[in-house]
């Protein structure tokens, strides 16, 4: 369970403070695929960065399985991320000088856990990249790189996967391949996924629940079937 209580984020923009997220109270139940949608600058990436502890909120507390992560030290946060949270980025961020296989191994090497090699092989097979295991990121397509990034995340055996625009740089077919993988691990392993998405079609096709953000405020929250056209207009501020 992820709980947010009064969480806000304000940064200094020139001489003026700029509020990216207004105080939020929210709870994400375990095992769901939650889509975060909203126009550019609505606070999606900031929200995901806060949930991962990669950024600190200005106010409020974020509880993951009852632990307030805003009170943790950098070492405590690193431990929490290693044990519970996996993060998938829009631009994959694989280490360019390591092969796909070596990139997938990194979390296990960091945590010092054994059985790394067979698990890395199994995960590359699950994301359909067995044949590409010894290729470098520059030799892989965008979709393949993102699947390696997902395998790297799954290597941590996380309870929560946070994905910031994981398919924004991919074409529609590859987007579905990547989201199919995320959806499958969510269902099979009971992982909670919080994923920011940029198309309504993908949001409606994959998520169990939708959070709609507009200028740092939640303007829609509910099960995906309730995401009506009016709700979409409210999120994207369309009045035509």
């Amino acid at each position: 369970m992820i709980e947010l209580r009064g969480v806000s984020k304000t940064v200094q923009s020139g001489d003026h403070p700029l509020t990216i997220l207004h105080p939020l109270d929210y709870a994400i139940p375990s095992g769901q695929f939650v889509a975060v949608v909203g126009p550019s600058g609505s606070g999606k990436s900031t929200l995901l960065g806060l949930l991962a502890g990669l950024d600190a909120p200005t106010t409020g507390e974020i509880r993951i399985d009852g632990v307030d992560i805003t009170q943790l030290t950098e070492d405590g946060l690193a431990k929490l991320r290693g044990e519970k949270i996996g993060f998938v980025f829009q631009f994959f961020h694989l280490v360019p000088s390591l092969t796909a296989f070596e990139n997938v191994l990194i979390p296990m090497e960091i945590s010092g856990r054994r059985d790394a090699v067979p698990r890395a092989r199994q995960l590359l097979e699950e994301v359909g990249l067995t044949e590409r295991a010894h290729h470098y990121p520059s030799q892989l397509s965008g979709g393949e790189q993102q699947r390696v990034a997902i395998a790297r995340t799954l290597m941590q055996q996380p309870a929560i996967i946070l994905a910031d625009e994981p398919v924004s740089s991919l074409d529609p077919r590859l987007s579905r391949v990547v989201l199919d993988i995320l959806k499958r691990v969510c269902r099979e392993d009971g992982i909670t996924a919080v994923v920011s998405l940029h198309t309504l079609e993908l949001t409606r096709g994959y998520s169990d629940r939708v959070i709609g953000l507009q200028q740092g405020r939640i303007v829609f929250d509910g099960p995906t079937p309730q995401l009506s056209d009016a709700a979409v207009d409210a999120i994207y501020h369309r009045h035509d």
């Binding site: 280490v95 360019p96 000088s97």
Partner: protein, 312 residues
């Protein structure tokens, strides 16, 4: 195919494009200043083409004195000052010898061999390799301390940067003189000079490489639960490794040339022999040494470019 017709009602983007800015008076003033500074420099550098033209025959005369190069210092065994009590086999094969012979052999390797062309050439290579390696040991941690994104504190960043900039301005010849005064004539002084100068250059280059890494990879590795040192090893190091290898090989090539020059001030290496040959007007002998040096530099350039192509 019909001719495209001009439609006068459409906006012409060329007409709408802003006119290029007019060059201001300050532009012409700067240009004039640059020309004046250049004229002043040419005057100060005493560039006199007439003297050069007059001196060209002298250049050919000196070059003529160098031909044919005299390789006897390399090819003739008398120039290796073989001890009477030892054969080539005794010297080259590391087998046990009687005490006196063993001492003679050691003295030959320590004192006589480095004075020969082959010995001095090898010493130059040793100085360059050892100096570059010592520099790398220092530059590697310094590179992280002097990079804005990995330094533990901004005071450390400014302190290390300032130190690197100050020491880097000291030419390696000056450092060589300093170390000759400290540890005496020989290869050790030259190696220290190369190590110090190279450490500051490599440290600066590495810090810039660290600052230019993809921060996204750092964020991704941080997100897998990595701490500070793990981020350095898994996210930063793999990204700077190609630069690290490339810069180190480049500095090794540079240090071969620098080690040759350091011989001029008695800091070991082949430069000392070359200087002696020139000063005693043994031009043909000097030409042979120059050719050996050229071959050495070309060999090291070739080997390092092969190595660089393989690992970078």
């Amino acid at each position: 195919m019909p001719e495209p017709t001009h439609q006068p009602n459409l906006p012409d983007i060329l007409l709408e494009a802003p006119t290029p800015p007019r060059r201001s008076r300050s532009f012409y003033a700067s240009l004039l200043l640059a020309v004046l500074v250049l004229g002043w420099s040419i005057h100060g550098a005493k560039i006199r083409p007439g003297e050069l033209l007059d001196g060209i025959p002298q250049i050919f005369l000196t070059l003529g004195r160098m031909f044919p190069p005299d390789f006897s210092k390399i090819t003739e065994s008398k120039n290796y000052f073989l001890p009477d009590t030892l054969s080539w086999r005794d010297l080259l094969v590391p087998l046990p010898l009687a005490d006196e012979q063993a001492r003679t052999r050691q003295r030959w390797w320590d004192n006589t061999f480095p004075q020969t062309v082959i010995g001095a050439t090898l010493e130059t290579v040793q100085m360059a390799l050892a100096g570059t390696f010592l520099a790398l040991l220092v530059a590697f941690p310094v590179g992280f301390l002097a990079a804005r994104n990995t330094t533990p504190h901004r005071f450390v960043y400014y302190g290390v940067r300032t130190f690197l900039n100050l020491v880097r301005t000291i030419p390696d010849l000056a450092l060589g003189l300093l170390f000759v005064a400290a540890v005496g004539l020989g290869a050790f002084a030259g190696t220290l000079a190369l190590a110090v100068h190279t450490a500051t250059v490599l440290g600066k280059l590495l810090s810039e490489s660290v600052e230019n890494i993809d921060e996204g990879v750092v964020e991704a590795i941080r997100a897998t639960g990595a701490g500070y040192t793990q981020i350095l090893s898994f996210a930063v190091l793999p990204q700077i490794l190609p630069d690290l290898i490339s810069f180190t090989l480049y500095r090794l090539e540079t240090n071969i040339r620098a080690a040759s020059v350091l011989g001029l001030i008695g800091a070991g290496g082949i430069g000392y022999l070359m200087n002696t040959s020139f000063r005693t007007f043994q031009y043909q002998e000097a030409a042979a040494i120059v050719l050996v040096l050229i071959a050495l530099v070309m060999l090291v350039d070739y080997l390092s470019s092969r190595l660089r192509a393989r690992v970078v």
